[in-house]
């Protein structure tokens, strides 16, 4: 039983990270109906921004507190991934808006190749390990919970709440939802559609940046190819939860995290990704709109 709870905690931690990345996929898909393939690599840029900021802080500023350091790292990651995502949207997606559906998908794949190779060229292909930042571990009735796991879950909750507030309560969120429902009508009603879409990209990317900083804190290592697997899994999570639905993305992320850690705990660690993808396929075959998504109505 302790083992099960232990694995559940690990799964929830992992799932929070996936869920945060998944929000970016689901929002962009919701608003312009496009799979933003470069989002996983924007997350990777976030981990690298946090890594470089960590090195700057440890080498230049002596004796800085861990909490302050984490905050600065997270802020850097947010700024960098937002900036990159904004630029990518401007140069690679906006000119193709209104073009046919596969065109932005191809530029997104192209951008994903560009980003991972850019980091490989500029930062080198090797793994970049950093010394552990948060080492405190609690023991609760035989179950060990590390402080960094608690931090990740807490930060996820805070970010999600802030996010939920922006999307449901502010005029910006209303503009986003209007654009999502009918872009032309929203434009007629005075919403700056291009700006709203840009902001959506930036919001998704800032969550990916936070996820990147936390990923670095949790695993303590960054690589240029880190964007692909978490990216695909987060996308899987978004689809599993019902693409376009924000609670769905978080739920999907948690489910993927749980499946992954429980499968590797009880069955085989080699086939954990196979299990994730198989469950995705099964869910989609029987419930194509995902767990919380609205079913798509086919019109003639």
């Amino acid at each position: 039983m302790e083992y099960f709870i232990q694995q559940t905690i690990n799964g929830v931690t992992l799932g929070s990270v996936y869920g945060m990345i998944a929000i970016g996929y689901t929002m962009v898909y919701g608003i312009i109906g496009m799979i933003n393939f470069s989002h996983g690599d924007v997350f990777m840029l976030g981990t690298f921004a946090a890594l470089i900021m960590f090195l700057i802080l440890t080498s230049l500023v002596a004796g800085m507190g861990v909490a302050a350091m984490l905050l600065v790292m997270m802020a850097t990651a947010i700024v960098m991934s937002s900036l990159w995502s904004w630029v990518i949207e401007r140069i690679a997606y906006r000119p193709l808006r209104g073009s046919f559906r596969l065109a932005p998908l191809i530029t997104a794949i192209g951008m994903s190749i560009v980003l991972s190779n850019f980091i490989q060229v500029t930062q080198g292909p090797r793994n970049k390990p950093i010394p552990p930042m948060v080492t405190k571990v609690y023991d609760v009735y035989g179950v060990t919970i590390s402080l960094k796991q608690i931090l990740i879950v807490l930060i996820t909750i805070v970010m999600m709440t802030a996010f939920w507030y922006v999307v449901t309560k502010t005029s910006l969120g209303r503009a986003q939802r209007a654009t999502e429902q009918d872009r032309k009508m929203a434009a007629l009603l005075g919403i700056d559609v291009d700006r709203t879409i840009s902001i959506t990209f930036v919001m998704g990317a800032s969550l990916a940046g936070v996820a990147g900083a936390m990923y670095l804190m949790y695993y303590g290592v960054a690589t240029f190819s880190d964007g692909f697997i978490p990216g695909v899994k987060a996308f899987t999570a978004a689809v599993l939860g019902g693409i376009g639905s924000l609670p769905g993305a978080l739920l999907g992320g948690l489910l993927i995290g749980l499946i992954e850690s429980l499968w590797s705990a009880y069955f085989s660690i080699d086939y954990k990704d196979v299990a994730t993808f198989s469950i995705l396929a099964i869910v989609l075959i029987f419930k194509p709109s995902g767990l919380l998504g609205r079913p798509e109505i086919e019109k003639v």
Binding site: P95, F100, F118
Partner: protein, 462 residues
């Protein structure tokens, strides 16, 4: 940051001011983008700790490139593009195709037929290896894969992001069956195709109900599942170590290319031992396979099943109400596309002599799909051109030794291969969203056969 962002008709002195402002803005943005990633480099020191290395000069160069580039785009290239576009729109008559353009396919085929011989004649057998193998064979493999995927994506409009799975099935079918059962290439080539087609049906069947992007995700997942199984099923596939010593193909069992064999090709003809013969033979094999793919695609387009595919791409609901069985239509598209992937896979295994799951990543699927879309979906000629430009172009980077004299001796152009590939994908797509060849020949027409803009064809919703 393209011409699209430019407001129309600005007086020229204002335009200069505007261009300068844009350039300054681009400089600021690029400084922000690159300051951490380019300005600082993380390297490991002797004690294996990460340290930062400063590269402000490189950062300054990149920012300068961004500023100058943006200025040139806004001030010169943007207006030029707009003027050209206006001139093109003003022109009404449709240009008649010249003799050269109408027969370009035959000319290309002829050029390909003499290509290996010409190379041997020009640079000698040993040096021709590189050109025939790295350029000729490799590009033709991508042409074949892209033409196979074109059936699924371009004709039937089903977005498949896991096409590499069928390529892997074909490659592993040939490698494992020939190693374990000693069957020859020519027996296994059709078998690999059949197995891949069979997998196409297995994977296609459950996903038939899915549409559009959901289909894309599930095919991506299947592609990853196949790769992960290949990695983890170590008893059969030897996992990440890969399968080595895959037998070479022979000339229909009459002459062999294995060095020790009695019926060795070079020995039989009294020639000097060289691997060039095998590569030239492979070139003609893949050329023939490509030709078969092209002929089959062209013929299928004119058959009821091909027309059903295109109808499915245009409108699925109309298709169903006209009595077209969408299940069989989709499955045939999936399995025929997969079959060509399987053929190409078997060929790939015979050519490499070594295969590992590394060769069948999502990256590969993305490259194949990119070639299909960049070429202009549905256009065989465009796809071939895209394969030559994208694969051959990035391969050419390996040749650019003169860059070493500019950037210093430790500059390795190979490193930038994929980076430039990705950038090229983005730039080509932004400039020509409908692909390099954006003209289609409809299979059914009312009075006369004439090409239409591909803007009239739909891309399907899966």
């Amino acid at each position: 940051m393209t011409a699209a962002a430019q407001p129309p008709r600005i007086p020229s002195d204002d335009r200069l001011k505007w261009a300068l402002r844009e350039a300054l803005f681009a400089g600021l943005i690029s400084f922000g983008m690159f300051v951490l990633y380019v300005g600082l480099e993380t390297t490991q020191n002797i004690r294996n700790q990460l340290v930062l290395n400063q590269r402000w000069g490189l950062l300054a160069i990149l920012v300068a490139i961004a500023v100058v580039g943006r200025f040139l785009i806004v001030y010169f290239i943007g207006p030029w593009f707009a003027a050209r576009k206006a001139a093109k729109a003003a022109k009404t008559e449709v240009p008649t195709q010249s003799l050269l353009r109408r027969n370009i396919g035959w000319i290309a085929l002829l050029a390909l037929l003499v290509f290996p011989m010409a190379m041997v004649w020009l640079v000698g057998p040993q040096k021709s290896l590189k050109w025939v193998d790295n350029y000729g064979v490799q590009i033709l493999i991508y042409v074949m894969l892209a033409w196979g995927l074109n059936i699924v994506v371009g004709l039937a409009g089903l977005l498949d992001l896991g096409y590499v799975a069928f390529y892997a099935v074909g490659a592993y079918s040939y490698a494992l069956l020939s190693l374990y059962f000693g069957l020859s290439f020519w027996t296994l080539l059709p078998l690999a195709g059949i197995l891949a087609a069979f997998w196409g049906i297995i994977l296609g069947f459950p996903v038939l109900r899915l549409r559009g992007d959901y289909l894309a995700v599930v095919t991506l997942a299947f592609g990853e599942i196949i790769r992960l199984v290949l990695i983890n099923w170590t008893d059969v596939t030897q996992g990440t170590f890969g399968v080595s010593g895959v037998p070479k193909a022979s000339i229909f069992g009459i002459w062999s290319f294995e060095v020790g064999a009695d019926n060795n090709f070079a020995k039989a003809f009294g020639l000097r031992q060289s691997s060039a013969y095998y590569k030239i033979f492979l070139f003609y094999v893949i050329l023939a396979m490509c030709a078969v793919t092209a002929v089959v695609t062209i013929r299928l387009r004119n058959m009821p099943i091909g027309r059903a595919w295109e109808a499915l791409r245009e409108d699925e609901i109309a298709c169903r109400s006209l009595g077209i069985n969408t299940v069989t239509t989709k499955l045939t598209a999936f399995s025929i596309g997969a079959m060509f992937g399987g053929f190409a896979g078997a060929f790939f295994a015979a050519r490499q002599g070594f295969i590992s799951p590394e060769s069948f990543t999502f990256h590969e699927s993305a490259i194949i799909l990119a070639v299909v879309v960049l070429g202009g979906m549905g256009s065989l000629f465009g796809i071939a051109v895209a394969a030559i430009v994208m694969i051959g172009g990035t391969e050419l980077l390996r040749e650019m030794h003169f860059l070493k004299t500019i950037f210093g001796p430790d500059f390795t152009p190979e490193l930038y291969r994929m980076l430039i590939f990705g950038l090229a994908m983005v730039i080509v797509m932004v400039l020509k969203p409908r692909g390099l060849v954006s003209v289609r020949n409809p299979t059914a027409f009312l009075h006369e056969r004439k090409a239409v803009s591909s803007a009239f064809t739909k891309e399907g919703h899966g």
